[in-house]
């Protein structure tokens, strides 16, 4: 139990940058040079101003984009291998539920995409976990934005992925529900310790959930600051009331302010 194994690098962003070619022919530097190592079983949160390239980093790790320079590896191999083995779980900024499927069918979809038998018990357990019990037969259109996001998180978790990528998964939730979802996600995560990369705008969410918080500069995004989160797991919601928590919130908020990069 108390034995701490040597950390193994799971996700490695090795001097990556990304620029996009615009329709007009010009190029836009979305991401400056970024190097980041995420250990197996580590939870890293990405904070940064809008448009700094957070979603781009997630898309690079998900093999949806190729870096312009540098390389992304997961366990030493190309990310596309992981997705081919159905070992990635994602919840995008846009929930991306299929409108013609019910919530239960949407959550069960990854099994079908992987060609595996659907574990109905796990599907309903996850739906209950994200607070959607009773909405199994509803269609995405009939749910609120926040409920759809929660369904998409259940879908991301259903295959017990080795790497979890979450892009502002709670962005559409009110403060109370968001807090509840953070507590639930923290609990699920503590049981499985999935290597996780979370993009968020909420500093307290990042601190409550992550082992490490990475703050990025404005576009083209670079890493400005990394903060190790000192709170032991499993975390009780009460940690958010500790003075140390507030100090860290202040520190990160300051770093996020436009002038923070020079202070």
């Amino acid at each position: 139990m108390s034995l701490v194994p040597a950390p193994v690098t799971a996700i490695h962003l090795d001097h990556i940058s990304k620029s996009f070619t615009l329709d007009g022919g010009g190029t836009i530097a979305a991401l400056g040079e970024v190097t980041l190592k995420i250990d197996k079983g580590e939870f890293v949160a990405l904070l940064g101003p809008s448009g700094c390239g957070k979603s781009t980093i997630l898309r690079l790790v998900a093999a949806l984009e190729e870096p312009s320079t540098g390389a992304v590896t997961i366990e030493g191999r190309a990310p596309v291998e992981l997705s081919r083995q159905h070992r990635l779980g994602v919840a995008f900024q846009d929930h991306a539920l299929l409108p013609w499927l019910t919530i239960a069918q949407n959550v069960a979809l990854p099994y079908q995409l992987a060609g595996k038998p659907v574990d109905k018990a796990r599907v309903s357990a996850l739906i209950a976990l994200v607070g959607l019990a009773g909405f199994e037969a509803a269609r995405p259109k009939q749910l609120s934005g926040g409920m759809r996001q929660r369904a998409s998180i259940a879908r991301a978790l259903v295959l017990k992925p080795d790497v979890l990528l979450l892009d502002e998964p709670f962005g559409a939730l009110d403060a109370v529900t968001r807090r509840q979802m953070n507590v639930e996600l923290q609990r699920i995560w503590s049981e499985q310790r999935i290597t996780t990369l979370l993009v968020t705008h909420a500093v307290d969410e990042a601190l409550f959930l992550a082992d490490r918080v990475v703050v990025m500069t404005g576009r083209p995004g670079k890493i400005l600051k990394t903060v190790e989160v000192p709170f032991a797991r499993p975390r009780h919601p009460d940690v958010t009331r500790e003075p140390r928590f507030h100090e860290l919130v202040d520190e990160l908020t300051l770093a996020l302010e436009p002038a923070g990069g020079h202070g």
Partner: protein, 251 residues
């Protein structure tokens, strides 16, 4: 709110149809359009006269089976071509060109060829199939490209095979456009089949029309036209309903 709007649309539609039929009757009774425009009541009396039932039933069976087979063949071929172009992208430009060539040739010009190649009886079916094929190919092709980028990303991240994606994403996302295409293919099948029957088929509503015209049997001519138009409109209306359901669920 929405419900009331629907009721109003239906009421207005019914009033429109009633006005149209009343005008038809009036023009016929007054003889404003001459002898060749009989009142609606005369046509209906002619049409529903029990002694003519076998005649009309035979013609309807012949025409409708040609229309149905032509529609089915065009549908299957159109779907197959669209799926092929979707799964093997290099074939896409060739298939597009083939479809537009088929569409650009006036089908009447092909009728003599079909008569020689197939038979007089099957010419209508072949023309119907060609018309349906084009509409279905175009709508299915655009439908298969209708899935959203976010959904395609999702399927890619979950490591979906090409065929699974076709089944679970591309095809459901294509359904609204496809059902619209299937709706517009209905009149195309009717036109094709009846046109084919004009070219000397020995059965069907088309033959009835031609022979009634040549023998100046005005009520018979109008009856045949009425049957064909009503059937086409009815199926078109049903397809509109299916279309609305498809858009509600799949969009």
């Amino acid at each position: 709110m929405k419900h009331r709007q629907r009721i109003r649309t239906i009421t207005l539609g019914a009033i429109g149809i009633a006005l149209f039929l009343a005008l038809w009757e009036l023009i016929g009774i007054r003889g404003w359009a001459g002898l060749t425009w009989p009142p609606l009541s005369t046509v209906l009396a002619f049409l529903f006269d029990p002694s003519r039932r076998p005649l009309f039933l035979r013609a309807m069976t012949a025409s409708f089976s040609m229309i149905a087979f032509g529609y089915a063949i065009g549908l299957v071929l159109g779907l197959a071509a669209a799926a092929l172009g979707h799964l093997v992208p290099p074939l896409r430009p060739g298939l597009d060109r083939l479809a537009s060539i088929i569409h650009a040739i006036p089908t009447i010009a092909l009728a003599p060829l079909f008569i020689v190649l197939l038979s007089r009886e099957l010419t209508g079916m072949a023309i119907a199939a060609l018309g349906v094929f084009f509409v279905i190919y175009v709508s299915a092709t655009s439908g298969l490209a209708a899935s959203s980028a976010a959904h395609r990303d999702l399927f890619q991240v979950f490591g979906t095979s090409r065929l699974t994606q076709l089944r679970r994403l591309d095809m459901p996302a294509a359904l609204p456009a496809l059902v619209s295409g299937m709706k517009y293919a209905v009149p195309a099948a009717f036109i094709g089949a009846i046109l084919g029957e004009w070219f000397g088929s020995s059965r069907g509503l088309g033959l009835l029309m031609v022979s009634a015209m040549q023998n100046f049997q005005i009520p018979l001519l109008w009856s045949a036209v009425l049957i064909a138009s009503t059937a086409s409109l009815l199926i078109f209306g049903l397809m509109s309903l299916a279309e609305r359901l498809a858009y509600e669920r799949y969009r």
